[in-house]
Structure formats: structure tokens, C-alpha cells
Subunit: 408 residues, 2 copies
Amino acid sequence: MTHTSINGGRLLRRLETFNEIGALPGGGNCRLALSDEDRQGRDLLVTWMKELGLAVSVDAIGNIFGLRAGAESLDPVMVGSHIDTVGTGGRYDGLYGVLAGLEALESLNDAGATTRRPVALAAFTNEEGSRFAPFALGSLVHVGALSLDDAYAIKGIDGASVGDELRRIGYAGAARPGAIKAHAYFELHIEQGPILEDEGLSIGAVEGVQGLSWSELTIEGQSGHAGATPMRLRHDAAYVAAEIAVCVRRIAREFGGYQVGTVGRLELQPGLVNVIAGRATMTVDLRNIDEPLLQDAEARLATFVAELAAREGVSVKTRSLARFAPVIFPETMVSMVQEVAQARGLSSRRLPSGAGHDAQMMARVCPSGMIFVPSVGGLSHNVREYTVPKDLEAGANVLLGLIERLAR
Amino acid sequence: MTHTSINGGRLLRRLETFNEIGALPGGGNCRLALSDEDRQGRDLLVTWMKELGLAVSVDAIGNIFGLRAGAESLDPVMVGSHIDTVGTGGRYDGLYGVLAGLEALESLNDAGATTRRPVALAAFTNEEGSRFAPFALGSLVHVGALSLDDAYAIKGIDGASVGDELRRIGYAGAARPGAIKAHAYFELHIEQGPILEDEGLSIGAVEGVQGLSWSELTIEGQSGHAGATPMRLRHDAAYVAAEIAVCVRRIAREFGGYQVGTVGRLELQPGLVNVIAGRATMTVDLRNIDEPLLQDAEARLATFVAELAAREGVSVKTRSLARFAPVIFPETMVSMVQEVAQARGLSSRRLPSGAGHDAQMMARVCPSGMIFVPSVGGLSHNVREYTVPKDLEAGANVLLGLIERLAR
């Protein structure tokens, strides 16, 4: 049996051209959501979609869809991901899934293939959540889990609002969010972890997405002179923040398994060598594939924080930035990935996703699934993020195979 | 016996007028060294000095001196402090000592008094060290412990250099640093700690200044995805920084006595909720009145950092920002403070200074001492820093008494 195959060279060239946008001096990319770099990327994507004859629509939260018509007027098969990055991001996180989808559609064009169902290529707004919380903002609005008004009002780390920034870059589109109803959704993505590389496998069939709990803690202590304030009279916000960060690590170690915990942001005020910090702001990121364990981790941390705050005479305010329960993809979607991989002679295994993705939001409204390809060194959210060309090509071929199977 | 007394109302009015410069919206002051606010303060001080008939000179590091002539051509008695503040500073730290000196000289003028020795009022550059390290930069250059070239080359937290900023604000003066040789030096200052208030005393006779060790640690780990990177494969700079901050507290608690330890600055890169920090920069401030104990504390911390870095697979570079051994003031200078206080009916006790001061640098070149007045709540380096008017007046009267005694 022969298959339609994607054009690997063309996919790599598109990735290279696109990644000139927001390129960082030392490698990697910065295309924070709704920034000028994000706008440039959106413009290029729309241009490329139109070159392939796709019908482009932009909805009110800035999600971009390119529709390839099918033989029948049915709900489309949807594939896609996102083009925004974290502040010091890599070349593939998000972008690969979008451009591999584009490549799959161009390959169908090249083959003169007509599918029964239409196929929609999606690029969702603000998947990373680095500038605006929660992450996966665009897909959350798409599935109706977050209202447009609430989304517009969200303020970013720089104080700008989602609504203002969407209008500023010209991507507050006319389409109603959720207007396009997907028959099914597949998202191709780099693994962002070390498992496939360790085991020498090409394809990951993603069973589900870890539950995620993001919170921001604001610690109010009392600033004072670092030399003349005896230790017993201190209410040191920096010390309290440090103890909390150490506790996050301790919880992750003690729980083991898929539990992870990270303090990625920590800011002190006034932030001077000889002044006891009067205020600290920090984030905590906890994830587990098991919801009761994730709740345990949250409770353990909350208890520790409350006891520590009482002991040190500081106040701690905790604000939830995002909370998602683990998502389990339908068994048929997971096994379909392995079947298509096998049909193309590619090795695979099942594994969970440690990272959040638009696919977990799409799972609320249609059968959804994900395909992973290996990340060298497990690196992601890192300028040295890398996946070898052979694996990029393999993943795109599996995506094409899944489109053909679902849309036929 | 009657004494010449200072004019308390005039002193308070001068403090109020001066503190309009760099006033923060919620109270307190920001006059970082060599900033525009510092320049405005310098301009006002020079104006006031000239109004009293003092001979004003500015040296090449920006130290300002106002000289009141004596009956004989002898080395002057010097009093003074500094007018710069930390980023969120109070109204009295530094400024009080300078304006109380000015008030003492005006009171001598009012009384038509002639002293045998001249009296010099000094305002030293960058005492706080918040913008440029090391602290007490102006007095260090004055006593010859730091060359002018080395001082000019120092870069601040905003990247600007001392030399450029001195020239920019017009205070790279013509006088040679150290040209004025003091017969003796007294510095009046708020305590910045809670001891005098706790014991209901008016005056502190400062026995010496705690030794100080400031270092900056740069931790290089590896950034990565906060969800997909297993705990065992992390090289998390934020976690390492947090463990170090907790260790600083542990050392201070275990040593007890006058040992203090503070992490006042801690910055993470990239500083995002869902990215493991690849780099952390932090400062450590350790102080003790006992030099061998201070060295023990430094060694304990260095050992902990080395073991932690090896265990977590990160590199840690440690750079000394400042290091001063404890300073013990001459017994005659300490007892003179208590004698003058007693003669004016003021209660006093001896105590060490937990903070660094220009007086500890001046102690290298002439008999030096300090007078403390109580800080309400022990607060300093804090916008709520406060000393009651009665105590401000008492301290200025002791300063005047010491000038009369040393200059007669």
C-alpha cells in the first residue's frame, strides 16, 4: 500500500522562514502572544493559507482558521496548534503543529486529493500563557469555557489587556468563536520531554494531558534595614518565598511518579542588597496526571504556606491563575495514532503529556488526540529546543494519515 | 551650667523642606546616589551651607564639605553623614546627621560663638550602596581606601557608571579627595534598630560597627518546560537560589548573637510561570560584630553552595560586592558621647551599629564615633522610618555639645 506523503524539504523551509520572526540573537524565538512578532507571524500564516486556496477566517479572540473544502458539507476535521512562544522559546513548540498541518493540506493539493469532509487548520491565540493567563486562551474561548468579555479583560504581565492588544494588532476578527464545529481534532507537537528520545521511538500516541494548577502568591512582610534588624524581629518576604519554593520541590519529590512542581517567577520588592524584602510575588506550577494526587499536592502546599505565614508574621494571598483537571483522550483517537504510525513503518508508544495543549480544551467539544515527536535532550521552552528533520517529517506524515482517515 | 542649644523647630522645618525632594507617593523618599533627586538635594544643601557663610568645597568623588572657620588654623572637627537613600527609604537615614550638623553650626552662629578649631560639615557620596556597590563609596575614596579611577569605573544596577553620573549631575568637583584632614569625626544617625526604643533611652553611644560581607551569586542551570521535564532531570536555578536563601536564614539563627543574614535581591530568568528558571541572580548580606564569626558564616555558606551546586548540576559564581571587617571606635569617643548626653540630662547606653556608616571609614584616618537616636519600631530602609521630634532635637544637641568640646 502506498500513502500520500508530505514534502519534508518544504516543511523545513517554511519552519526556517517563519522562525525569522521573533528570532533571538543567540537562537530560539520570542513571539509572545499578541505582540508585534505574533502579528508578523499571523500575517505570514494567513498569506500562506491563502496561497493554498484555503478559506481564511479569524474569530473575535484572534483564532485563525484555514478551511480546505470537502466533497460534502460536513463538519470539518480540524488539525492545528499555536504560533505564540514563551519569552525564550524554541523553534517548534506550537509552530510545528501548525506548519505541518499546512504542509499536509498542500500535499493533498499536490496529490489532487478530494476528501469527503472539509479539513480546517487552526492556530489558536495565546496558548503559552506567558503573557496572559490562563494558557490556551484561544481554545478555551473557542469551546465556550471562557466568555469573550472575560477574555478581553485579562491583563498581561506588562499591564496590557487581551482586548486592546487584539485590536492593536488587527486580529480581533469578525467570526464568532466556536462557529466552526470540528468533527474531530488532532494536534501534532514536539514531546517537550525526554521519553521518546530515551527509548529511540519516532511517534508518541498521547493518552492524555496532565492536570495543571497555576497560582500566584503575594507575600506581604515588612521591609527594614538588613543590618540593624535582629533576626527574631523580621518579617522577611524573601525568606518566606524561598521556603515556599523549597516546599514545592519537596512535594514533587515525595509524591514521585508524574508529579512536577516549579517556581518560575519570583520578584522581590524593593529588591536591594541591604533591605529586607517587604513584598514577594511568586508563581507555583503543579501538575499531575492524577486529579486526587494533584489536589493533595495543592492542599499540602496551602497548609505549609499558612503555617509558615503565621510563624513569620507575614500575610500570603494566593490567586489561582489557571486550574485544569487531567484530560484523558478517547481510546479510539489514541489507538488511531499508533495504527497510522505502524502503517507507515514508524515506531511508537503511548505516553501522557506533561504540558498543557489546546487539544485538552478541544476534547470538551469533539474527539481529540495528539501526536508527539521526540525533543532532543527533552528540551523545550528553551532556545535550544530541537527535533531532528527525520522526526519532523515522520510526525507530519502521521498527521496527514490521520487527516485522510478521519476525512475520507 | 547652661549650654548652647540647637533650634529644634528650624531643624524639623529643614528636614521637611529637604524631604520634598524624591518624596514617594505613599511616604518616604527615593534619592538614589547620583540620580536627579540626589542632585536636587545636593543643590539645596550647598545653598543652605552658603547661607550660613560656610566655605563650600566639592571633591572629585562628589563629597560636599562646608567649613566654618575657627580661631586658629588647625585641622577641623568634622561632623556629617549622607543625603542619598535606598530605593524606598525613609526621611532620616543619613539626612538627619547632615541637617543636624547644619543646625549645630547655625546655632553657633546665632550664639556668636567662635571655636578654636574650624568645623567641617560633610555629606558623603553614595553611602547606601543601593545603586552603586560598595556602600560608603565617598568616604572610602576620602580616606584613600579606594582610588578615584576604580570608583569612577563602578557600574550601577542600571548600568551607568559613577564617573559618568558624577559628571552628568555636575558634582565631579575640583577638590582632591582627602584634602580636608579631620581632627576627629562624629556622625549622628538614627539607630535603624529597636534597642533604644525598647529601653526608653534617648541617646546611643556607638561602640563600633558590625563587619559586613556582601556577595552576588549567579546560578546557571538549564531552562526547560515546567510540565514535561521530570524532576530528576532538572537543573533549576530558582530552586537552588531558594535553598541558598533558606540556608542564609539557618546560619543566622544558628549563630545567634549579633549575626544577621539577608537575601534582598533575587531575579530569575526568564521569569515565567511555566518555564524552569535557567538563571538566578541573588545577593547575600551577612554581618557580625565579631570577625572570626563572620568568616565562619561566609565559609559555612560557601560549603553549602558548593555541595548544592554539585547535587543539582548547576554552576554558581560568587562575586564579592563589599567586605568590611568590624570597626571598634576609640573608647574616648564612646565615653565622650555618654558624658555630653549626661551633662544635658539625656539617658544613654552603649550599643553596636548593625548598619554600615561613613564613620567606620573615617575611623581609618582619625578618631571617630557615632551618636544614635531611637527609631520607632526599629524601622529603617522603609518608608515608615520615624523618629519623634524630641529625640531628633536631643541628638542634635549632643552633636552640638561634642563639636563644642572637640573644637574648643
